[in-house]
Structure formats: C-alpha cells, structure tokens
Amino acid sequence: MLGNYIFEAENIVKKYAAHTALDGVSVAVTSQSVFGLLGPNGAGKTSLIRIINQITAPDSGRVLFNGELLERKHISQIGYLPEERGLYKKMKIGDQCVYLAQLKGMSKKEAKSELMKWFKKFEIDAWWNKKVEELSKGMAQKIQFITTVMHRPKLLILDEPFSGFDPINTNLVKNEILKLRDEGATVILSTHNMGSVEEICDEIALLHNSKKILSGKVNEVKERFSKNQYVIDFKGSVVAFANAVWGGWEMIKREQLSKDVFRITLRLDDGVKLNNFLKHLLDHIEILSVNKLVLSMNDVFIKVISDGDGAESENVETLNAKKDE
C-alpha cells in the first residue's frame, strides 16, 4: 500500500497578482490514509485545496489523481467540505442534499437512498423536509458533512471539519472519518486543531509562507522533534547537576518543583548515550525519574513556525532533510 498515492502535487506554483500563494509545493498523499494539511492562516492551504478541487488551476506544476493527470472527470471521486461553508437557507434539507448529490454525478434515486442511510445514522431523518434556516449551526454542520461524503468519494477534503461541533458530535464525525478511511477512502484534513491531528492523522504536511516546510508520518515527525530529549526530575541542586556532566548536552528548560527538587529538560548531543549520561549523574544527585520527552503536534507546529519565521524556511526544510537521512 505504501507508495500508492491517491494524490500527488509536484512543484505547484500559484500566483495572485503580486502575491504568491504556493511556491513550488510538492505533496503526496498515500491512499487510504488520513493526511493532515497544516499551517498557519494564509500559508497556502486553501489555495492547494482549491487546486485539488479544480476550483483554480496551478500556474505551473503537475497534479495527479490516482496516477492520472487531474481532470474534470475526477470531481465525482472527490468530496470537499470547505472551511467557509453553508447551505441554501430557504431550501428544504432533503431537496438540497439530493441536488448537491446530483451535482456530484449521482442519480436522484441513488442519492435519496444513500442519503436516507446517512440521515438514519446521524439520527436526523426527521429533518428531511425542514428548511436550513430552522437548524442550529451544529445541525447544519452534520448536513454539510453528509453532503460531502454521500457520493462515496475516494478522496475527502475536510477543511476544519470539527469547528462548530460539540464534543459528542466531534467524536461522531471523527469516528466516521476513520471508518471511511478503513472502507477505502483517503482523507485530507486541514485543521488548526492539533489534538485531532494527533488522534486521526497518519501523515502531515506543514505549509508556511507558501512553502512546504515539513512533512512525514505523524509519529516520525514527533520523534524527529523529540529526538534525544529527556525530562529528568531529581533531588539535589542544579549546580551539582551541571558539575556532574560537563559536555554532550544542552539544557532546554529548568523548573524548581520544591525546595530541593528540580526538573530539567535537556537534549543530548548525538552519540551521547542516556545510560552513560545518567551514570555521571548518579554520584551527585538523587534521580527521581527519567522520561523521554514526547512533543505534541502542537509543540512541533509552534516550534517549526516560529523557527521558520526567524530563519529562512528553506533552512528548516534542509534541516529536516538532513534528519531524514
């Protein structure tokens, strides 16, 4: 399955007058995975999503869908839930869903039977003849989710799908996303909610200032950024700690937990073994606990973006490339 990409974008450039929205971005999305498309506001995520949906075309670069050049015929295999989303307020919900399904190429009959299944699953079959203006925001979100997935697309693009949902419905949608993936769909998830990225994404790509600055499997990315980092709680003094180990490490953070209990977060230099490091410490301080530091995606996001803002973003990418080697 690996290496089998449902979607590949190669060296995409998209310019709007003076502004470059995408600057040589390449992304490959593995089939049957949940792919997180991350980045701060204005990074170019929506531009990329619109290119996948053929709402706009790239100025240069190549876009492949399932190995073929992306064309209009692929539209029926893509489902898109935009961040700015809405429905016709005055139209009946059932009619509206059927209409949107027909636009995706389903027949009226097919659309109705498929929709009824989803309406039952979401326990909203009583809403069929209601108008959208009678619904709450959360209810409308459910309808929008259904209209995105009802035609069983191979590729689902969800832009901030959880905004507006309460925790129960968020969970419902999360489970549906994972279920759709297990049934063969691929999901591109664009979100700022790093918690959900960690929960359901298999891979991510991070865009910043119109460039891709980070990509890979979620675990690998986290591992890459947490590499050789540990949190050590100990009894004694920080001076004693520093005197015990002179080189081969770098302090990231120091906290005082009580009168003589401290927590030090540190990164070991490459080649320095944790065990050897601890051996040096044992005679000088009393070690209470040693934990490997696990960065959350949130930490990674903030770190990469703030580093990227400081340095040239290419440097981060090269750095990442080095780490990949």
């Binding site: 709402i55 898109y80 839930l81 935009p82 700015e84 005055k90 209409y99 636009l103």
Partner: protein, 471 residues
C-alpha cells in the same frame, strides 16, 4: 441531466414555486387592468347637469345666443346636442348645461349676482360677460367646486361662439359668410404614396415593447445579482464550484432566471387574455352581446359589411380610427420576433454584468458603486426611447439603436415607427453587435465571477476587478 441543466432547473423551480412569484403572476395583470379601468372610468365625462347663472353686461347682450332670445328670462336648456350649431368642437354628449340669465336691468350688478350665487344652492357656476369682451378683458367663470377641464373648454367655446355671433350682427356680413371666412381646415401628414402612417402611434407601440424589456432587464437582472450574493454570503458557493465550473454555475443561474421571466410574461399574457374574455362583456355589454353579434353576422352576410356597421361596432371603430387602423398593418410578426430577440439579448448582456457585480461584493449594500454605471445606459436608453416617439428619425435614436447597451430598448421604437422599412442591414448590424457584446460581457463577467465568488471581506475597487480579469 447535465450539470448546467441541474442548476438551471433548481434556479427555475425554487423561484417559480415561491409565493411571491405566484402572487406577482396574478396580481400584476389584475393591477394593470384595474388601473386601466380606473383611468378610463375616471376620465369618462360624467352625466352631470350643470346649472349656470349668466350675468350679461355686454352691450350686445350676447347671452341671448345661448338659446332662443325670447326665452332669456327663464331656465334655458342648452344641451350640446341642441346647440351643436355653435359648438363645433369637443362635443360631450354626457354633459348638460342649463343657463339662467341674471336680471341686470336696473341696479343689479355682477357683485350682487356673485353674492346671490354664493348663497344660492341652485347654481353650479356663474358666467360673467363684462361690458367689453376682448383679449384684455376676460369673461369670468366663478365656481364653488372647480369645473372639469372639459367643462372649461366647452364654456370657452360657447362664449367665443356667442361673441362671434354678436359681432356678426353688427358687421356687414352674414353668418354664412363668416363661417366661410373662418377656416378650420385639417392638415394630414402622409408619405409619398399618400398613406397616413401614424408614425408616432407606431413608435409608441415600439416604446411599449421597449419599456417592457427595460423593466424585465432591471427586475430579473437584479434577481441574478441577488442570487449570486445569496450563494456567496451563505457560503454554499465553494461547495458548488467544487462540483461544477463557475461558468456553468453562472450561466445556469442567468438562463434559469431568464426562463422564470419568460414564464412570468407568458402567464401574464394568459391571465390578461382570460380576464379580457371574462370581463369585457361586463365592461361594454352592447358590443359583445351575442344577439348583437349574431345580428351583425347575419346582416353582414346578406347586405355586406359597410351597410350594417352601426355606430359603435368594433369594426366601425377600427375603420374610423386611423390610429388603430395603422396599428393593424404593423409588421407584428417581425416586431414580436425582434422583441423576443432584444428581450433575451438585452437580458443576457445586463444579466451577466449583474452576476459579476453580485460576485464582486459581499452584500447588497455594497452594490451601489457598481450598479450606477450599469444602470446608466439603461436609463439613458429609456429616456431616448420616450423622446424618440416625437422624432423617430433622430440621430440619437439611430445611434442608440445600434449601440448594444441601449439597442434592446431603443431599436423597437425605431423599427415600429416606420414598420421596419429600409432598416434591414441596420437591424442586422444591431443584432450582430448585441450578440458579440453579450458574448463579450459574459466572458468578462465569468472572469470576475470566478474570482469574486471566493473572495470575502474585502471591499473591491475597479482596479481590483481589472486585476481579476488577468488571473
């Protein structure tokens, strides 16, 4: 079903099913007919007797000509029909004037008469004929309630008539001689073949079509704009353009709304037609009385048409009226054909521009700056058309009938005014230019639309619109 057809049918069916559409369909013809009936009814001279007190200070005592001079002291019936010999204009058969002379012998004066008139309820008007009657010394007509313009005109004619009669008496000519001298000969405008073309009437018919197109473009063009703004502001547009091309969405909307308009037009014609059939007999029973009709038909068969036409029959009305007569021989087939062409062409041109405006703004309140340049040529065309009735061959009208932004409204006035004779290539050019232009504006609008529908929160300037064309 293709996607454009899907969009089109949604645009069409949601609008046609709206209550407002149904209400409009029924209400507009009813209102139109209602206004027409009201206007005709209000304009009709009323069967009303007017009692007029006459104070005659004129040395010639001209008031005696108002009726038999012997009867001057009693109420005189001066029904128009009786006195038609001196009132030869603006006969109204429905108005009756009764004149009573105020006795001015002795000391009675105009002031006294006026006082009496104020108190008395017997008289509606007081006519004062001063000692000198000429251009500088007008006769006076005092009223309690203002008289109608018809009454004013009739009294004016009557006074002039009796003054003329008085003057004839003291001149050395007979009334017969005077009537011969006094000329009121008509002048008729006819073309080189001697035909009375009733150019203004025909131009007015063209204007009727033009005004209809003007209203249609505004009403439904704005609907296109509102539809686009609705889709943009409720944020469904991005979902839809991920399924269809923006151009397909725009065209589906424009054409769908056009079909709504055509449906409305057809329904109006049907409703008005039905109403006419049902209501006409009530409005003028004698003409549509089956007895009358059958007797007319019978006698037509036996005696030939011309002999049987009674005074008020519709056939007679048409034959007598050069206006209706000339309308009958207008090229209705090409007129209606052109009407439909310019109706659709003009709508597509402006509809596409309105779609672009809708896409460029976030809400209806922001449309003003873009609506003005779009509605200006329409308004201009409207004004040119109205002025054109009086001069259908003016250069302005000729130019505006070729320029695509005004031609949908103006060309019909020009074409109708001379039955389209000799306009062949000019109509063809105008149609060609309109087609080229609406293809152009649609292309332009599509470019703005494509970018605009996904652009939020920015107040767009013309400069930016220009940039969008290059995206």
């Amino acid at each position: 079903m293709s996607k454009v057809a899907l969009i089109l049918s949604r645009e069409y069916s949601t609008r046609v099913k709206k209550k407002s559409f149904i209400v409009m369909t029924v209400l507009v013809p009813l209102l139109a007919i209602g206004f027409l009936v009201a206007a005709v009814y209000l304009g009709m001279p009323k069967e009303k007797d007017l009692k007029i007190l006459v104070v005659d200070d004129s040395p010639l005592r001209v008031s005696r000509f108002l009726s038999n001079p012997k009867d001057i002291d009693r109420i005189i019936s001066a029904k128009f029909s009786d006195e038609s010999k001196f009132v030869d204009q603006d006969k109204t058969e429905n108005e009756h004037y009764y004149f009573t002379a105020f006795d001015t012998s002795g000391t009675k004066t105009y002031e006294e008469a006026l006082n009496y008139f104020k108190k008395s309820e017997k008289f509606d008007l007081l006519l004062y004929l001063p000692p000198t009657i000429d251009n500088k010394n007008p006769s006076k007509l005092n009223y309690k309630e203002p008289p109608s313009s018809v009454t004013e005109k009739n009294i004016y004619n009557m006074v002039n008539n009796i003054v003329e009669k008085g003057r004839i008496e003291i001149s050395n000519i007979t009334e017969k001689e005077y009537n011969f001298i006094k000329a009121r000969v008509p002048v008729q405008s006819v073309d080189v073949d001697g035909k009375d073309n009733q150019v203004s009437t025909k131009a007015a018919v063209g204007l009727g079509f033009g005004i209809f197109i003007y209203m249609f473009i505004f009403m439904y063009g704005v609907q296109v704009m509102k539809g686009v703004i609705e889709e943009k502001s409720n944020r469904i547009v991005e979902v839809i353009v991920s399924s269809v091309k923006p151009f397909e969405l725009m065209m589906g909307k424009i054409v769908g709304i056009m079909l709504v308009g055509l449906t409305q037009l057809t329904l109006w014609i049907i409703v008005i037609g039905l109403f006419a059939v049902v209501a006409m007999p009530f409005l003028s029973p004698d003409k549509f009385d089956p007895k009358f009709q059958s007797s007319l038909a019978e006698s037509m068969m036996t005696e030939g048409v011309t002999n049987v036409v009674t005074e008020n029959s519709p056939v007679q009305v048409i034959q007598d009226n050069p206006m209706l007569n000339s309308m009958m021989d207008m090229p209705w087939f090409s007129l209606i054909g052109l009407f439909i062409f310019y109706f659709i062409g003009g709508y597509l041109l402006y509809g596409s521009l309105m779609a672009a405006i809708g896409a460029a703004v976030d809400s209806e309140t922001d449309t003003q700056q873009f609506m003005i340049p779009v509605s200006m040529p329409l308004m201009f065309a409207y004004i040119v058309s109205i002025m054109g009735i009086n001069n259908p061959n003016s250069a302005v009208l000729n130019w505006c009938s070729e320029i695509p932004f005004t031609s949908p409204i103006v060309m019909l006035v020009r074409f109708a005014s001379n039955n389209g004779e000799g306009l062949g290539w000019q109509v063809a050019l105008s149609m060609f230019l309109l087609i080229v232009t609406f293809v152009g504006t649609t292309w332009l609008a599509a470019k703005i639309y494509r970018v605009g529908i996904l652009m939020y929160g920015k107040k767009v300037t013309y400069k930016e619109l220009f940039k969008w064309l290059k995206y």
